[in-house]
């Protein structure tokens, strides 16, 4: 089995247009959530979200690209460019033939569905643009990354709702660890902040109208975000031999299925995924200092997640830090695990723990150290990243400092 390291990271999300800017704003405890700017927002009950701001796609992509790239693909390509550039890898020959891209998204080109349903149903048009299908398909982003960077190995898109990115990165990790590929591009993206995308979430009545306050007793629901984060996973020996900068090591993962309910989380399912990741990474519970929580800010998730962590870690649960960065960037649904892996990289690489902002009132059912409101500087060796999806599909990744 090969060791696997991260040699590139890139992102665009409501906290920043690059990994560097996102790290800085996470460390500042900045909130990227604000009023939504989108068509027909006055007909929405939920008017806030973690929208990507100051982004004009026409300055990045040409007319032909824009005809083919949904917003979710645009985000993905921007993040991939940063990550692959940082890695310094140019894909050619045998390396290109074996390197692939595995990404996560829950909804794919949601805005494309939305705009074109509007055209045919609301505006009564009988014709849509010929690229609607290649623009909205869930694998569009992964395919465009493969075309842009000549990635000819195993490539696909994983869709497991809010755990999509973690499942995707677990696959990429497994491919490099097993020796199937020396390099995999991975991560995830989401762009559901359009009228239909927000309206659908409103229906569930789990959304907050004012803020995302994970683990705080007065929390009142989740807030959607959007964006992408992409990473380069590479065989450790290869990365070392070429003198690449190593951001962190991926040391293990686990996936589990609750097999119980389509929306309600299960403590046992979450605990099995966390425990599985510890086992896969050959860790004792005491080795873990930080967990990036799924931490959605809903009563159901936060209580269940804290109970699962308490179950797995026993007494050590009181010593570890557990923060939810969704309080800052919102819930990126299928892209969330990817942006949250950045917080884990910052923890093990820079020794900075991103806080859970918006924390106002202690909740006895979430009585863990959730790093309230202010980042903390402390050396971290091992960090976990939790993702627990609707449908009961869970995936947890483990990172270590190098």
């Amino acid at each position: 089995m090969n060791r696997v390291v991260i040699t590139g990271s890139g992102t665009i999300n409501s906290l920043g247009h690059s990994a560097k800017e996102t790290f800085a704003n996470m460390a500042e405890g900045l909130c990227g959530i604000g009023p939504l700017f989108l068509r027909d927002v006055d007909r929405l009950d939920i008017k806030i979200g973690g929208q990507v701001k100051g982004f004009d796609p026409t300055t990045v992509f040409n007319r032909q690209q824009l005809a083919l790239y949904d917003r979710v693909t645009q985000f993905t390509l921007i993040a991939a460019k940063e990550a692959i550039k940082q890695s310094g890898i140019i894909f050619s020959g045998e390396l290109a033939a074996k390197s692939g891209v595995v990404l996560g998204t829950a909804g794919g080109g949601v805005s494309t569905w939305d705009d074109n349903y509007r055209a045919v149903y609301e505006d009564g048009k009988n014709r849509v643009h010929p690229f609607v299908v290649p623009k909205l398909m869930n694998n569009a982003a992964a395919s465009h990354v493969s075309m842009e960077y000549n990635l000819k190995g195993p490539s696909f898109t994983v869709s497991t709702a809010c755990a999509s990115s973690n499942h995707a990165m677990a696959q990429a990790f497994q491919m490099v660890r097993s020796g199937l590929s020396d390099v995999m591009v991975t991560g995830g993206s989401e762009s559901m902040l359009c009228f239909g995308g927000v309206k659908a979430w409103e229906g569930l009545r789990v959304m907050s109208k004012d803020a995302c306050r994970p683990f705080s007793a007065n929390r009142n629901g989740m807030v959607q975000g959007e964006g992408a984060a992409i990473f380069v996973f590479e065989n450790f020996d290869k990365a070392k031999n070429r003198g690449a900068e190593i951001l962190a090591e991926v040391i293990g993962y686990a996936m589990s299925s609750d097999a119980s309910d389509i929306v309600m989380p299960s403590k046992q399912g979450a605990a099995r995924a966390i425990k599985g990741a510890l086992h896969d990474a050959r860790l004792s519970p005491e080795d873990v200092q930080y967990i990036n929580a799924h931490g959605t800010g809903t009563a159901a998730n936060d209580k269940t997640e804290c109970a699962a962590v308490a179950d797995v870690f026993g007494r050590h649960a009181d010593n570890l830090m557990l923060s939810s960065t969704k309080s800052m960037h919102g819930h990126l649904i299928g892209g969330t695990g990817a942006v949250e892996l950045l917080a884990c990289i910052m923890a093990v690489k820079d020794g900075i723990i991103a806080p859970t902002i918006g924390y106002e009132e202690a909740d006895p059912e979430c009585a863990l150290d959730i790093v309230p409101n202010q980042a903390r500087e402390i050396e971290v060796d091992v960090a976990l990243s939790n993702a627990f999806a609707f449908g009961g599909l869970n995936a947890v990744l483990a990172l270590r400092s190098v």
Binding site: Q64, A67, R127, H129, P130, F131
Partner: protein, 85 residues
């Protein structure tokens, strides 16, 4: 603007060329318009003239719509526009 000039404008935009560089004798190949560019052009022409073009991307050469040159495209569109009115 007459039909021919409007069609040339649409094709030129697709080919990222100046309309002056698109002649009646030009073929889509010579203009660098691929199969994706072709369906996009047909969509734009349908939108511009509010017509339905009988074009099947599975077998373009066998369609009722003649795409062998810019002039054949224009004359077929003129027929479709005439049939509409």
């Amino acid at each position: 603007m007459d039909i021919g000039a409007r069609v040339i404008d649409i094709i030129a935009e697709q080919a990222i060329l100046d309309p002056g560089d698109v002649t009646l004798e030009s073929t889509l190949d010579s203009l660098g318009i691929d199969s994706m560019g072709l369906v996009e052009s047909i969509f734009a022409i349908e939108e511009a003239f509010d017509i339905q073009i009988p074009f099947n991307a599975n077998d373009p050469s066998n369609s009722e719509f003649n795409i062998s040159s810019v002039s054949s495209i224009i004359s077929d569109i003129e027929k479709l526009v005439a049939e509409k009115s």
